[in-house]
Symmetry: C2
Subunit: 299 residues, 2 copies
C-alpha cells in the first residue's frame, strides 16, 4: 500500500468541525469514504484544507483516529502534523503513528519568523521521533517561511524525510525546478506539487505527486486529469485542465479553502461551516462557482 505514498493524487479533505473546533467524525468519515471509493492514490488529512491550524491537539488526534477507521486500509493515509512548537509536532507525529497512519506532512508553521537553522532543527527533531516517512510541506503563503534550495537538499538526506510538497514555481518552470532539486536530493526522494491550477503541468514535467485541494471533494475529476498527465497524454490533459479553468480562477481569487465549502454545499455534502474568522464566499462568487462546476462536471 505504501507504494503510492507521496506519488500520484493525494486528496486533501476538509475536516468538518463545529464553531468551537470540535470535529464531526461522522461527516469526516463520509468524506473519506468517497475518496477511497474514487480510488485516489493517498489521502492527506489535516493539511491546510483539513484545518490543522484551526483544531487543537486533542481534536486533531480525534480526527486521525476517525480517519484511520474510515480508510480501513484501502488507501495510504498521510497526516498533517504542523504546529508552532516542536514538542507539539513530535507529539502529533507519535499519535499518528500509533493510530495507524502511513505518512506525515510537516509544515514549518510559524508566528515569529523562523531562521533556517531553526527550521532544520524542527524537522530533524520530528523525523527522529517517528518511524513514519515524512513529507516536507513547503507552503510560504501560509507559513511565511521560504525554503532555500540548500535546506531542501540538507533535509532530504535526513533519515525518514522522504518527500516534499512544493508550491508552484516562479514562472511555472516545473521542469527547471525539478531538475535543479533532483541534483540536491537522494534517488527516490519524491518531489510533488500543490497549487491545483499548476497540477497538470507539474505532472507532465515529471512531478511525483499532485497534493490536491479539489480532489478532497471532486476526486473523480481530479483523478481523470492526474491519470492523463501521468500517461503523458498532453492533449487530453489540456482538455481537462480547460474544464477546470473557471474553478482555478475562483481558487486564485478567493482562496481554495473558502471555495471548498461552496463546492461541498453544491454537492450536498456535510462539512459544517468554515472556521471563523474565515467566511464562505459571497453570493456572486457562489453563482460563479455553480457555473464553474457545471463546466467541469460536464467535461
Amino acid at each position: 500500500m505504501a507504494g503510492t505514498l507521496f506519488t500520484g493524487l493525494c486528496a486533501f479533505p476538509l475536516t468538518p468541525a463545529d464553531s468551537d473546533g470540535v470535529v464531526n467524525t461522522r461527516a469526516f468519515a463520509a468524506l473519506i469514504d468517497r475518496l477511497c471509493v474514487a480510488g485516489v492514490d493517498s489521502i492527506g488529512i489535516l493539511g491546510s484544507t483539513g484545518l490543522y491550524a484551526y483544531l487543537d491537539r486533542a481534536e486533531r488526534v480525534h480526527a486521525v483516529h476517525a480517519a484511520v477507521e474510515a480508510v480501513a486500509g484501502r488507501v495510504p493515509l498521510i497526516v498533517g502534523i504542523g504546529a508552532l512548537r516542536t514538542s507539539w509536532s513530535v507529539e502529533l507525529a507519535r499519535e499518528a503513528e500509533r493510530a495507524g497512519a502511513q505518512g506525515l506532512l510537516l509544515a514549518p508553521m510559524s508566528y515569529t519568523p523562523l531562521t533556517v537553522r531553526e527550521v532544520a532543527g524542527h524537522y530533524r527533531a520530528v523525523a527522529g521521533a517517528t518511524a513514519l516517512p515524512l513529507c516536507i510541506y513547503n507552503n510560504p503563503g501560509t507559513t511565511g517561511f521560504t525554503f532555500p534550495d540548500a535546506l531542501i537538499g540538507e533535509l532530504a538526506h535526513v533519515p525518514g524525510i522522504a518527500a516534499i510538497k512544493m508550491p508552484l514555481p516562479e514562472g511555472d518552470d516545473f521542469a527547471g525546478e525539478i531538475g535543479r532539486l533532483r541534483k540536491l536530493v537522494p534517488q527516490g526522494f519524491r518531489i510533488g506539487y500543490s497549487g491545483d491550477w499548476g497540477a497538470a503541468p507539474s505532472l507532465l514535467a515529471g512531478g511525483a505527486a499532485w497534493y490536491s485541494v479539489v480532489a478532497g471533494l471532486l476526486p473523480v475529476e481530479a483523478l481523470r486529469m492526474t491519470r492523463a498527465a501521468q500517461n503523458g497524454a498532453a492533449a487530453e490533459t489540456a482538455r481537462l485542465q480547460a474544464a477546470f479553468e473557471p474553478l482555478w480562477r475562483l481558487f486564485q481569487a478567493h482562496g481554495s479553502l473558502r471555495l471548498m465549502y461552496g463546492i461541498a454545499e453544491r454537492l450536498n455534502l456535510d462539512v459544517e461551516e468554515p472556521p471563523l474568522p474565515i467566511q464562505k464566499v459571497d453570493a456572486p462568487t457562489a453563482r460563479a462557482l455553480d457555473a464553474a462546476l457545471d463546466q467541469l462536471i460536464n467535461a
Copy 2:
C-alpha cells in the same frame, strides 16, 4: 488606574514556560513584580513576546490568573487574546475579563491569509463579547495581515475598540502617519507604536504609547527614555536612544524575542527556554549582547 491604559510605556514580559508549554507561574510572577516596582504605565502579557502563539488556551488562562495576582492592582494589565479561531479569541477575552484584566490586545493571527471583511468580522465579534477596552494589534510581520487605513478607521468606531498598536511606518514618518490616521479615528482613540528602535521618534511625534518588548526586562531604562520623549526632551531622548542603539541593531538582526532570552540570562532572571523551534542566539551574538547591555546600563 485605567488612566494609563494604552498610553505611555506598556511593558511586555516573556511568559516562562517549559518545553511542553506549561507556564512557570512563579517565574512569571517575579517578572511582573519587577515591572510594577519599576512603575511602567501598563503591562501587556501574552503578546508576541509573551508567547501567546506558543501556549494553548488552558495555559494562557492559567497565565492570566497568575498575572492578575502578581500585579495586585498596581498597574493596568492588558492581555493578548489573539487566536486563529474567532471563538477562541472570544473565549480568551471573556476569561481575561473574568480574571480581572483591564484591557485586551487582539492580533488578526492568521494561517490562511484573511480578507478585510473577515478581519472586520473577527474584531466586531470579539469586541461585542466583552466589556473590556480592546487594542488592535497591527503586526504584519507575524500575522501576515496588513491593515488598510480604511479598516482602521472602521474598527476605531466599533464600541469597545479603543486603541491601536502600530508597526513602524514606512520611512519612519510617524508624524505623517499619526496625522493621517487621526483623521479616520474618533477623538480619544489611542495610536501607539511597537518596534522598540522606533519608540523614541514615535513618542516625540505624538504617539500615545510605546508597546515595548525591551521594557519587559529592562523597564527602568525604557521608562527613562519614555519620560524624556513624553516631555519633549529631544536631546536627552537622543542620548538614551544612542545608548540603546547597539541593542536595537541586535533586535533587528535576530528578532527581539530571541534577544530577550539572552537579556534574561544576563540578568539572572528565570524565564525558562524559548519555545522550540525558536532557539536562543548563538555565542557570538550573546557576546555582542553583553557589550550592548554594558553600554545601555552605563548610559
